[in-house]
């Protein structure tokens, strides 16, 4: 009775939000039809650009403007034969997000869920989990995917957000250029060139969930043809709430410091060198199995992550159709926690060359070598065998971009070859075509094979998950039953055949739309099979073991549609709706509750430039339910009010999850069974450029 009353109130809330938004849109549509920009609003600061007079802008502003021609808004997106989405610096700034992970929520086709205050589950086109393994994530060319956990720890992927130039997201097998594990997508986080970050930046703020944060950056030229920047940032974050309403123990803090230098010794060479160091203390609640009563113990701890990385690259411009790049990086990532502690050292060397051997052909080829060394410490709960090991991966790729009809039809053939220590030799071909009937429309289609190579989790890691006490319905025997994940060591790579197509239209200078559809056929997906239980009668506490063997018996298909549009109904008002639909059909729905995907997702952003240098930004998101995990659908509204009283000073007030005090987004259950809810939050932030 009580529960149904609560739900009625909740559905009433849904009605209210959408009713209000509907009314606002109808009013603004009528207004935009009746009043042109200058009548309705006193001063539009977009006026300068819309009326064509750029001389009123400062040089700094002029340097930010992108060249637009009659044909295309952004050359990179328009010519990509793949489902691509670019998150710009403006998108990040006006969304009010405080982390890269949260910025990804605006991308259709990505599933982004906050598990608790310091853990995210992010994936592309399904298979989401904290350890989502079908997504490749790069930061300035350096892979941040953990080869031990086969996933990305999003809390430590951090930098000064104001210095991110853009985040490129491609859903689908990442064109032959990137490696295995780019099965369902590639996320490329690109920071600004140091030439664009000269001067100082200080920003700081505080709020309810963001207890306090500060960013500092200073950049300057170094001599005649070099430039650098150094930065530091710190954030302290509050814990989330449990479903019961009590506080969780997942509060955390993190600091990141780093530098970047650009050097152009000649007109045709550019050299980049950057380094970062981070340290994070993340609160978490663990539930470990115990073979003695009470058969489980729950405790709080602070997982400690820290790392250091360096990257250097040299690019040489040879001609308009030819260039080459050599890149080397070193990455050390350490995690210390009771269940499993590990240090991973990665050494990576990469070479790429682009050239045009004959007219109408553009070839890109490359080779890469990566050495990964692990130093792992097992615990009685998570046993890693062997603890230490060194893996190496040798890869090569080649791609031929063929112009069949100049400016109208292109065909791209590519293939990636890889040799790794788990599955040997892997071959991933793809074929793409792009048809541009006129300067406003483009249609693309592609077919690819992609492979997710086995990782340590499937080969070397055994986990004692939980204990079923004796004398219970599931375990009527007299001995406790330990459920364990066993790695059998003969795990095969998972494979995907992906069929995709898409359509892009720049309807006018103030409207564009992008639609992508896909059908993915998966084989040899990871499955969990119960093996025969056996007894351990000789151990100090006799018990039965029920092993869950990891194998490749799962398979199936997924299909879906992703669409987004960018519209400017008024010169001072931009709206960005995005929608995605995903259908998952697997022979074995994944055993654990993770790996689920919401059927529908919707995101709607509205950016308004108001008089008196004010900005009002709204962001509405709806995510469908994860029915098997019992996670309800939710909608979330964020709002930001920004004010620029002076050229170099900005204050913003951000509210997140405004209409809901807390909601659950995901359920992860690997040694952690509590359900966490994301709370309503707000913060205020001041930014000063000098």
């Amino acid at each position: 009775m009580l529960k149904s009353c609560l739900l009625l109130r909740k559905s009433g809330k849904y009605l209210n939000i959408f009713l209000i938004m509907k009314l606002i849109f109808i009013l603004l549509c009528i207004a935009s039809a009746l009043f042109p920009c200058t009548a309705l609003v006193g001063t539009c600061h977009a006026d300068e650009i819309s009326s064509g007079d750029l001389t009123e802008l400062s040089i700094r502003d002029l340097m930010e403007i992108e060249i637009t021609t009659g044909a295309r808004k952004s050359q990179t997106l328009a010519n990509t034969a793949a489902a691509a989405f670019v998150i710009t610096q403006e998108d990040i700034r006006r969304s009010g997000v405080t982390s890269i992970a949260d910025a990804l929520r605006m991308v259709p086709g990505l599933q982004v869920a906050k598990i608790d205050a310091n853990k995210w589950a992010i994936s592309s086109r399904g298979f989401n989990s904290r350890y989502a393994n079908k997504l490749l994530v790069l930061m300035d060319g350096r892979s941040v995917y953990s080869p031990l956990y086969s996933g990305v720890f999003w809390n430590i992927q951090d930098t000064v957000l104001e210095d991110i130039d853009r985040i490129e997201v491609i859903r689908g097998p990442g064109a032959a250029l990137w490696g295995a594990n780019a099965v369902n997508g590639v996320i490329n986080i690109i920071t600004k060139s140091t030439y664009d970050t000269k001067g100082g930046l200080v920003s700081a703020g505080a709020g309810k969930e963001e207890r306090g944060f500060g960013n500092f950056r200073f950049g300057d030229s170094l001599g005649e043809n070099a430039c650098y920047r150094i930065f530091g940032k710190y954030a302290d974050r509050d814990e989330s709430k449990l479903t019961s309403g009590r506080d969780a123990a997942d509060d955390w803090d993190i600091y990141t410091i780093g530098f970047k230098t650009d050097w152009t010794p000649t007109a045709t060479d550019s050299v980049l060198f950057e380094g970062n160091h981070y340290r994070s203390d993340d609160g978490q609640t663990m539930t470990f199995p115990d073979i003695s009563p009470p058969y489980s113990q729950t405790f709080n701890e602070d997982a400690k992550s820290d790392g250091v990385n360096f990257l250097a690259s040299w690019e040489r411009f040879i001609s308009n159709t030819s260039d080459m790049k050599l890149q080397i990086y070193y990455d050390r990532a350490r995690i210390e926690q009771t269940a499993l502690s590990n240090t991973t050292d990665t050494y990576d060397l990469d070479f790429q060359h682009r050239f045009s051997p004959r007219e109408k052909h553009e070839i890109i080829w490359g080779i890469g070598y990566r050495l990964i060394s692990f130093e792992t410490n097992s615990s009685p709960i998570v046993i890693v065998d062997p603890e230490n090991r060194t893996d190496d991966i040798l890869s090569a790729f080649v791609q031929d971009d063929i112009t069949i009809v100049q400016d109208h039809l292109r065909l791209t053939l590519g293939a990636k070859f890889e040799h790794n220590d788990y599955s040997g030799f892997e071959f991933q071909p793809n074929i793409r075509t792009l048809w541009t009937p006129d300067k406003h429309n483009s249609i693309w289609a592609s077919f690819s094979r992609a492979v997710r190579t086995p990782s340590r989790i499937e080969n070397d890691v055994h986990t004692n998950l939980f204990v079923i006490p004796p004398g219970t319905p599931q375990n009527p025997s007299g001995l406790p039953m330990v459920i364990s994940n066993i790695a059998t060591g003969d795990f095969k790579p998972e494979s995907l055949y992906a069929y995709e197509m898409g359509y892009r239209n720049e309807i006018s200078k103030s409207a564009s739309i992008d639609i992508a559809a896909f059908y993915n056929r998966y084989k040899d997906l990871r499955s969990h099979n119960y093996n025969t239980p056996f007894s351990e009668l000789n151990s100090s506490v006799p018990h039965i073991v029920l092993p869950i063997a990891i194998s490749n018996d799962n398979e199936g298909h997924t299909y879906g549609i992703e669409a987004f549009a960018e519209l400017k109904p008024l010169s001072w008002w931009k709206i960005k709706p995005a929608y995605s639909f995903l259908h998952v059909n697997l022979s074995e729905p994944t055993e654990d509750s993770s790996g689920e995907a919401p059927r529908h997702q919707f995101s709607f952003q509205s950016n308004m430039d108001l008089p008196m240098n004010l900005e009002l930004d709204l962001w509405l998101r709806y995510v469908d339910d994860l029915s098997d995990s019992d996670v309800n659908s939710y909608s979330m509204v964020d709002a930001r009010l920004g004010w620029k009283p002076a050229e170099n000073f900005e204050i913003s007030l951000v509210g997140q999850n405004i209409f809901d005090s807390q909601h659950q987004e995901f359920k992860e259950d690997y040694l952690n069974y509590a359900t966490y809810e994301v709370e309503r939050a707000f913060y205020i932030k001041a930014t000063w450029h000098f």
Binding site: M1, K3, S4, L7, S11, Y14, L15, F18, M21, K22, F25, I26, C29, S32, A33, P36, C37, I49, S50, S51, G52, L54, T55, I59, L62, M63, E64, I65, E66, I67, T68, T69, S74, Y195, K198, D220, S221, E224, N225, T264, A267, I507, S508, K509, S510, A511, L567, K568, P569, L570, S571, I575, P577, H600, F602, F604, Y622, D625, N632, S633
Partner: protein, 199 residues
């Protein structure tokens, strides 16, 4: 049992309501787009490369000093930008003729031969004049004339300010040595924003 069924009913109700509202919102957006594009009051002009470069040149003039030229009383004379060669930038510069730079009115002249540069404060050299570059730069030697161009490696060959296009945005390099030889003073704010400085 009964409560469970009631909960299921409300969940289905809200999901359907939500989809309905989503479709409503999309419908309204399509209508607003068609209205706005048909009325076309939100007309944005193209931020073409030439328009941006013309705006940059206007701003460069604010950050450069012509000591000898400015010490004379020149408030009645125009501030002249000359263009050598054919280039779409001429149209954009003509569009801003008459604006005030340093207390003088901006005038734009299409130069038909090198001798006409003498009355200019700024000369924009088109890429089409690449082969005549040496003779052009010789003609401006020892004169307070700021040379600007977007041809390849302009500053390496002795020009004062060269435009560079990097991924759809405009940047510029400065040759401080040749600028100082021409007795031009470039202010530090402009130097700070340059990509490369040759000294």
């Amino acid at each position: 049992m009964i409560i469970h069924n009631q909960i299921k009913y409300y969940k289905v109700f809200t999901t359907n309501q939500v989809s309905k509202y989503i479709l409503w919102v999309i419908l309204i957006l399509m209508i607003s787009v068609s209205i706005s594009s048909s009325l076309s009051y939100a007309s944005e002009s193209l931020n073409t490369e030439s328009k941006l470069k013309a705006a940059f040149i206007y701003n460069f003039a604010k950050f450069v000093d012509w000591p000898a030229t400015e010490s004379k009383d020149t408030s009645s004379q125009s501030f002249v930008i000359g263009v050598l060669g054919s280039n779409p930038i001429i149209e954009e510069l003509l569009a801003i003729e008459g604006k005030i730079i340093k207390g003088r009115k901006l005038a734009v002249r299409l130069l038909s031969n090198i001798k006409e540069i003498n009355n200019c404060q700024v000369v924009f050299i088109s890429a089409s004049e690449k082969n005549n570059l040496i003779s052009i730069l010789n003609a401006v030697k020892n004169k307070e004339i700021l040379t600007v161009s977007d041809m390849n490696n302009f500053v390496g060959n002795g020009g004062n300010i060269g435009f560079v296009r990097i991924e759809n945005k405009i940047r510029f390099d400065i040759n401080l040595k040749t600028a100082e030889k021409s007795n031009l003073k470039i202010r530090s704010d402009l130097l700070a924003l340059a990509r490369r400085i040759i000294n």
